[in-house]
Subunit: 308 residues, 2 copies
């Protein structure tokens, strides 16, 4: 899994930070998470192929998370897209989008499969061969949802030399990868652990923005590999954060710590902060493995403790 940050600003973009948008690459399938203004230009700059994006997740209906969507959808259309696009967004967005496309006389040549998000509990919204995606309720001024992308249990890793050694036919390999023993023609059994190594660890990524400090969140994203949590403000702006339903650096770090996350990425920075290092330093007082989201940068999601 690899994450690319297209925008890390909050409502006011700066000369270095675009509004929110992330691209998650999971098994060479791309997931666009939020679509702030300029997302399509950032995708161009990073040479990310638009056609590989089949799922778009919108956290909430504030402009800095969605005003790039009209342009992105139009561009897909101009590029001749035919494949349906899945769009997950707060329920009221279905009619808003329909009426806005109508106002601009945009007739999309592809279907949008719209998945309305609502409610106060986590909901499984996507379950495919490799991953599941769960929408997680956050706490903001308008309905807001985080998204947890979790790899499924992986197959055990075949030890090739043993397979050759025991002359195991290729059609038996899938079952052995799933953990089955191998029964030889002479009736003897070769135990699975003599043929395989444990599967690679399941990786996961959670996107949580916008939200004020949400105590339940750490249970929803328990043991996540990489947690992205908004940190709009520093700890001196705790009251302002509460009043605007945003989080501070320490709020984000507390969630990461309680969840047992491997790594915390903070972003959605207020435009008042020119330098991001002090925000990272604050979060590290609680959660040492904190790193900043930086526009244009890619982050490998791994259980190894690499520094970004």
């Amino acid at each position: 899994m690899k994450l690319t940050i297209l925008g890390s600003s909050s409502a006011l973009p700066t000369s270095e930070r675009f509004p929110s948008a992330h691209v998650l690459n999971a098994h060479e399938r791309l997931f666009l998470i939020d679509c702030g203004e300029g997302t399509q230009m950032q995708l161009r700059k990073k040479r990310i192929r638009f056609g590989k994006i089949n799922h778009v997740f919108i956290s909430h209906l504030h402009g800095d998370h969605v005003f790039g969507l009209y342009g992105f959808l139009s561009t897909l259309n101009l590029m001749g897209r035919k494949a349906p696009l899945s769009l997950y967004a707060p329920e009221m967005y279905g009619s808003i989008l329909r009426s806005h496309l109508g106002d601009f006389d945009i007739n999309l040549g592809y279907e949008i499969d719209f998945f309305p998000l609502y409610g106060n509990d986590p909901v499984l919204v996507l379950d495919d061969k490799y991953i599941t995606v769960t929408a997680i309720p956050l706490i903001h001024r308008v309905p807001s949802f985080g998204f947890l992308f979790r790899e499924k249990q992986k197959d055990r890793n075949i030890i090739k030399d043993r397979i050759i050694e025991f002359g195991i036919p290729v059609e038996r390999i899938p079952a052995i990868k799933k953990g089955e023993d191998y029964l030889r023609d002479d009736g003897t059994i070769i135990r699975n652990e003599d043929l395989t190594l444990p599967p690679d660890e399941q990786l996961s990524y959670a996107y949580c923005s916008d939200t004020r400090f949400c105590p339940r969140l750490s249970t929803f994203v328990k043991d996540v590999t990489m947690l992205y949590h908004e940190a709009t403000f520093d700890k001196d702006k705790t009251e302002l954060a509460a009043a605007t339903f945003h989080s501070t650096t320490l709020d984000a770090a507390k969630v990461a710590e309680k969840a047992g996350a491997k790594t915390l990425l903070i972003g959605h920075f207020s435009s008042r902060y020119r330098k991001i290092e002090p925000l990272v330093d604050e979060a590290r007082t609680i959660f040492p493995r904190t790193f900043p989201a930086i526009d244009g940068k890619s982050y490998e999601i791994t259980n190894n403790t690499i520094d970004y």
Copy 2:
């Protein structure tokens, strides 16, 4: 007058070209012309002060000319703007904007004075101390308008030494600048031409995009100092240009030539053109003083023949 290009692409932005947006500085007042996606980020990069923009002109309702407006208006609001903003756009945009701001629960703290554009004749839409702005009907798939910014007749230039020599009191200067002679106390007259030099030439800028070749246009922008005319396609794509109601390089050059423009700026390039020089060369076969619109670049509008 100084023009800054924020975006020079057509519907599909590229890694180097944002969608349409221009900023015209006329006597230190800023006019935003079209507002494609990403306009506010380009303004940031160029360090152009948002608060100095009091007039926004939208040529037509295609996304690549207007999808940056929601973000721009929201940002003005977050910055605490109180002064009214004048918005000139095709008439149907009034209700579209109102409903979209409502959908996103955006309550602007400033008034938008909306000037609906319609009809098939040029209309004077702004007439202030220094300039006039005329909306000009273009020919596109939806109602589309160009904008002609023209400086008013300027005052004559005072010859300071003569004013001192004749001991002319300061309160008489405005009338002399307007061309009046000076009547001395002894009844003798000093002729205006002995006190002043001719006024600076009136400068003008016309923004014409999107449009197919429009024969009337050259009379509407007669003698314009700088003409910006879309040139979405090269001359080999004449049929495609006609079918999509866009112009070729040669169309743009013909309008500039017939209008007697001093300089032609071409832009709104199709994303198929990686290199712009061949398009400029084509236009120059008809109109030698053709230059390309380049994102982030500023152009002094002058009767002198500087090369951009």
